[in-house]
Symmetry: D2
């Protein structure tokens, strides 16, 4: 068979292994989600169904793939952090990013109907992804802080913007103009004085995004046992400890989070 | 806002642009599709519903993304070829591969029910992908020939193997043993003399896989026009030429295919 | 011995193999050669000793390393082209560039005294280098054309500039101002009308730079032979054909050069 | 001028910036130094002139280039460590390695006559180089330990081997056979019991290699000053502190070295 004659083309594949001993971050973004959100009637500034579907898809990625120790999501983006010592698929860059985005994308469509009962999915959405390496724990924490700071900035803006549009009957252009050059304090002030909204009381999921980590959780189940020489079966409680993905909506910029969950950055994670 | 303090982490992103003037090939593979096929009752050796779903997903990738001039698929893999001069997303490697695999994965779930009416999708499947560059037209043709030769080798083997299992009541182990060391001619002979099967009459989609290319197609539609001073509307035929993805199940190893479709390799494609 | 404990650090070395079937170009540049030229009394606008030393060093690189089919140099830079099919050191990028620059640098110091008899070398000079891949023959020809066009532009400018400074007693600032915004034709005109210099009669090595290629050359040597039954030895001429590096100062932008030396781009070179 | 037409070839240069916040190590090796050593009459197992010339060349590299905080050499190899935060030439991989090897190679030839007065340099030697990144301080220390452990292993072997050849009149083949399968303790025992050599008394430069670091050194110079209203000039001592490259031949595997010179790994270095 002529196979051998063509097989030389395999040598054109580049070795794309990630530098060892670095945190491997895969970040994905929805493709054209501005239009996608409009076509599927996403609520503004935040659609909780859409956020929950993102979180559900991210949870699937964490459960299906190996070595992910933390994930962080907001809006239409999600970041997944593989542990420093991960040797999954020999640390090949392409494997990390394609497994993450394909699992996320198929999960997004698969779980759509669980969150959007009345809104059919009109077409299959796309996502892009990239891999970034961070050598030190501080670099990684700063990366995640960067994303959460971005969440805060965008959400504060969007909250004021859509409140102006929805409750003051400003056109989008007028609202945009109104907000030009305003600082965070100004925006808080507009919300409070004009709409009696205390931004700090807005839902944490909107202000902080979503953090996914692994936690040991006790599962209590009933188990039937048979005691020798006792004709009757009995039921006893059995407690099992299992690692489970848990969702948090908390600050990850300050030290408190990392002090509370030191195992995330530990080598054994 | 503390944004600027963290923004330095952006500098850790590597520039991963593909070398210009090379064919950019993205190949994707199903993750754990052996098990996936069993769990979803795929017919052996070939499940036409599964192949058609792969093709439908690949078609969506070609239509949604830019600059793909040809795609080739077989079994649970698909290769997409971006044109040499493509400058899509500045030729970033990560963009090419993540857009392809995410669009493919979401389409696979989205269109599942169109092909597997009686078989619900049990969980969202994953795919991996990679990018390979080919500098010359001959390298690219040899790459595609390599994949089609692989299709032939695997399909011939699988056809004999499953015929032995399904019609001779051999166990899989016995069938495997029977085929050990056999050449293509031996396998053809088993099929013909024992089961009266001429392998060359097997369906082309199984033997050759699927090729997707762009073709100009005439679309004839009726259009209502109004002629001035004539109170009645009239209907006329309007012919429009549009580029459409067409599916072929033909040989792409020989020269004939490339002579028939010279525009695929031309710079203007 | 504790060796094994540390040996894991080898895994941090990245595989940096060049894409197969591409021309591999290594270009080197003198580091801080403006200052180097001044300190070593280089003549302006061109110092023939310095150019010849560059050429001698480049010749050594071609002779010592493998698979270089053409080299082109001008001013304090030199480009070396490894053939497409080269598998020297498994095409490792780092090997290509470090062998070229180190051999060039050591040769530059080694041969200095052959060209600068009265001018001692004051300190060891540095060079930097890079690797660039070109997939097609046209890309490679355009690369070399780019460097020769650069040579022409710079040499025309420098010729007028230094003629103004040396023969019109303009200060460098005045000469620079005089030339601001002038086109090639203007510069030719200044040289001709003010200094009676026809730029086209300037030495080819200055206007075109230096091309190094391999040529078969006949070497005629005398050899003593002894004829049986004849007591006396006789001397006969023996002609041997050997590949030798030859230096040319010719145009490589037009087609003529490539038509005259088709073996440079041929796969067998 | 046709320049613009060709300038597109610049886009084929890849961006090869090193990941930030990692130690950048450039290691160089002599090319064909086995033969080079023989042709230049290097003493076996160690030629002090050759080692000193290597060290002199490495010192020049440290002084001429920027951001090198430590270098380590043995035999015909040398490693240079650029500080984590270095932004020299935007951290381009090619710049790091080509500047190091070219400066080393030209220095080697330039300073040759200072160490090999009676032995002319027969031809310009070559070196190859590579860049390796190390994310953590421990990784870097382990890298340097790996090289020093290698020095120890090779030097112990070579010391016994050449003692057997030079003082027992064994042929190289016989000496090699004698040493096959011996451990470090066996080799020490051969040296001590047969030749009365205590390996631990061998020169440190042979057993440990050479470490180059920056140290603040006081330079005391005399300066003439003139005191107002005093007609006579006076000479006073002036002490200046300057950073100088110093050579050490000490253990760098244990903690002591790093505790003694904490500034090497500090961010401010």
């Amino acid at each position: 068979m002529a196979k051998s004659k063509f097989e030389y083309v395999r040598d054109f594949e580049a070795d794309d292994r990630c530098l060892p001993n670095c945190w491997v971050v895969v970040r994905l973004d929805g493709r054209g989600f501005h239009r996608f959100a409009e076509q599927h009637g996403f609520k503004k500034p935040n659609d909780d169904r859409a956020l929950q579907l993102m979180n559900r898809s991210a949870q699937t990625v964490m459960e299906e793939l190996e070595d992910i120790v933390i994930a962080y999501g907001q809006s239409d983006e999600f970041s997944f952090v593989f542990k420093k010592k991960s040797n999954w698929f020999k640390r090949r860059t392409s494997k990390f990013m394609t497994h993450v985005v394909s699992q996320f994308a198929s999960s997004y469509v698969f779980y759509w109907k669980d969150y959007f009962q009345d809104q059919p999915l009109l077409y299959p959405p796309g996502f892009d992804g990239r891999v970034v390496l961070y050598p030190s724990d501080q670099n990684l924490k700063d990366y995640l802080s960067w994303r959460q700071a971005d969440c805060h900035i965008n959400n504060l803006y969007n909250t004021v913007f859509w409140t102006l549009v929805q409750r003051s009957s400003l056109t989008p252009e007028q609202a945009q103009k109104r907000l030009q050059g305003t600082l965070a304090g100004d925006k808080n002030e507009i919300l409070f004085s004009e709409f009696n909204i205390n931004y700090n009381n807005e839902p944490l999921i909107h202000r902080k995004g979503t953090v996914l980590i692994w936690q040991k959780v006790n599962h209590v189940t009933m188990k039937r046992i048979k005691i020798p020489k006792d004709p009757a079966e009995k039921e006893v409680e059995v407690t099992r400890t299992r690692s489970t993905v848990v969702l948090l909506h908390c600050d990850i910029i300050g030290d408190q989070f990392w002090e509370q969950y030191p195992e995330i950055l530990s080598d054994d994670s």
